[in-house]
Symmetry: C2
Subunit: 339 residues, 2 copies
DNA sequence: ATGAAAGCGCTAACAC
DNA sequence: GTGTTAGCGCTTTCAT
């Protein structure tokens, strides 16, 4: 790599000190009362030499990197990729750049990523926290590093977060199914302590009870994060077999629905006649499922853009009060949940 | 943000100079012949104080940021999100971190992104270049900044690149369609000068000619990047209407296929009986299309991981010869292209 | 109106 | 074995 031009090169070329160059190029000529002509000359030379300021040096000096660290479960998952895109755009508007990493829902990877990004002096974090990462989050908090959690959060820890109302959304789902004549609603969810997952189950159970339907553990299929391919067929078959098979399935996430429907497609069930289906989130995939899917629409754009705004607020004023934002989701009713 | 602990704090606490601390924490005690006990003491204190090296300072000093700049068209597009994920993993293996940006196929945005990332002293770039960004690429080259293009490249510019063989893949597609009895193959592609797009059309045309079928411009639908929603229905209808309607459609990209199939689904055509379909790339979406899609599988993992490896090679040795890698794709034959 | 110089955190050549 | 110091590129205080 060729030698880059620095402020010093410009100063020499202009026959002035580096101080003047710095003032001019940062548009502080007024405060510093730099001579009109000198200013013009400096700008000229800077342009000629194609001067590009070294952001690293600036950051080192100022203690501010204008960088946001983004940690999601998996950047290749459309759910997070969409969030990432919005965060990127929103960050750019504020002159921030985004460094990202994927945790794979793994607390150790998450810790490593946080360390790396802290070392890189990110000004703050946006994190979709993994299970068992409470200590990492607490640690960031105690070090006073600005932080916003998204999608999930930890009720016991005081942090900024932006998430959707998973409980209410799930209540809506079950209400809708029951009102459409489904009495035996199965839930396919993850075996996880993440609050978003737990809230979805809580909403499901609460709504059933409200309808006088007792919650039956055998109607809840818990899939292990790393074992989707293996668990899905087995657990769904279990829901559909036995003496009291489910008449509808509520998929707690996008990925579960995708895999679940692929499996159901191999079976002899017609949706919604034989089996009602509702799921969380959308997906291009679902546009081609023969029976358009009733689903929970989470306003990801809003989640992501608010997360950035809250974070930048915190960065600019560490004292600013913690924001805990819960955004409503919307139940989009299509054919798959019909009677 | 609380004051972070620096090498100086450790030095003071240990009653030694910063030099020793630096040596020890970088495992250079041998070369520097640091005392055994002092070394242990330094490490102890570092751990106690939870010392985290300031990567910015290191980079400023060393001129190496261990950061890769990644510019894709849109990180929320699964095609690029997948590439990004592989790049992230491969980079991490080599102790690199990734900063990304989305160009939206827009040369101006691309230029801005490059500037920002250059200022941040990325050690090198991986770029899926937009149309009309030749000058930007040349500029990076002339400044000696390591660079690998992916997915597309510019034949006139000598750069590293990793792409797939779009020409051959398209030839395979058309051969396959014609051999399955499709004589009037339509092409739905972008109105673009990007080499990957052009090569796909060239392959399509060449293969038709080889079969003695003359290329008819009216059978090629060119969609404008920003106008997919609008162009797709109109242009596809045009292909299907008239006195010489197509009997099959070759979609040149994922996104085009997704939108195209949605439209076709609203029409009265049965795939493959009434209309053969082949497309580039996969998608969860296609798993639910009633007629499983014959498609071109591009080995994205290979493209992305090779890109990282080539880039790191270049970073480590700017003199190392330019690598131009073309990887073969594979035609996956399913039902949608049947007779 | 301009320049000298300290210092952000770190490394490494050099001196002792 | 260990410490001193210059310097990476930049900002900013303080002299002049």
């Amino acid at each position: 790599m060729k030698k880059r031009v620095s402020i010093k090169d410009i100063a020499e070329a202009a026959g002035v000190s580096t101080a003047l160059v710095s003032y001019v190029l940062n548009n502080k000529e007024k405060e510093a009362r730099v001579g009109k002509e000198i200013a013009i000359k400096i700008r000229d030379i800077a342009k000629q030499l194609n001067y590009q300021p070294n952001q690293l040096a600036k950051s080192l000096k100022s203690g501010k990197s204008y960088t946001i660290g983004l940690i999601v479960a998996d950047i290749s998952n459309p759910f997070f990729a969409n969030i990432a895109r919005t965060i990127e755009d929103e960050a750019k508007k504020n002159n921030y750049t985004v460094i990202f990493g994927s945790s794979d829902e793994n607390a150790e990877k998450s810790k490593d990523l946080i360390d790396v990004l802290v070392n890189r002096q990110v000004d703050g974090f946006i994190i979709a926290p993994t299970e068992n990462s409470q200590e990492q989050i607490k640690d960031l908090e105690s070090r006073g590093i600005p932080l916003v959690l998204i999608d999930r959060y930890f009720p016991g820890i005081s942090t900024n977060y932006v998430a959707t109302d998973n409980f209410e959304a799930s209540v809506d789902v079950v209400n809708h199914l029951v009102e459409n004549g489904h009495k035996r609603v199965g839930l396919v969810t993850y075996d996880s302590d993440l609050i978003n997952i737990k809230e979805r189950q809580r909403g499901y159970e609460e709504a059933l009870r409200k309808h006088g339907i007792s919650v039956n553990p055998s109607m809840i299929a818990k899939i292990r994060f790393g074992n989707i391919e293996e668990d899905i067929p087995a657990r769904i078959n279990a829901l559909l077999e036995g003496d009291k098979p489910v008449d509808s399935i509520f998929f707690a996430t996008n990925t579960l629905a995708l895999n679940g429907l692929k499996h159901i497609n191999t079976l002899d069930y017609k949706v919604p006649q034989d089996l009602g289906i509702v799921c969380f989130d959308e997906g291009d995939a679902f546009d081609f499922f023969y029976s358009p899917l009733t689903h929970v629409y989470q306003p990801l754009f809003e989640v992501a853009s608010k997360a950035v705004n809250v974070l930048i607020e915190q960065i600019n004023d560490t004292q600013s009060p913690k924001k805990e934002l819960i955004i409503a989701s919307e139940l989009i009713i299509r054919k798959s949940s019909g009677a």
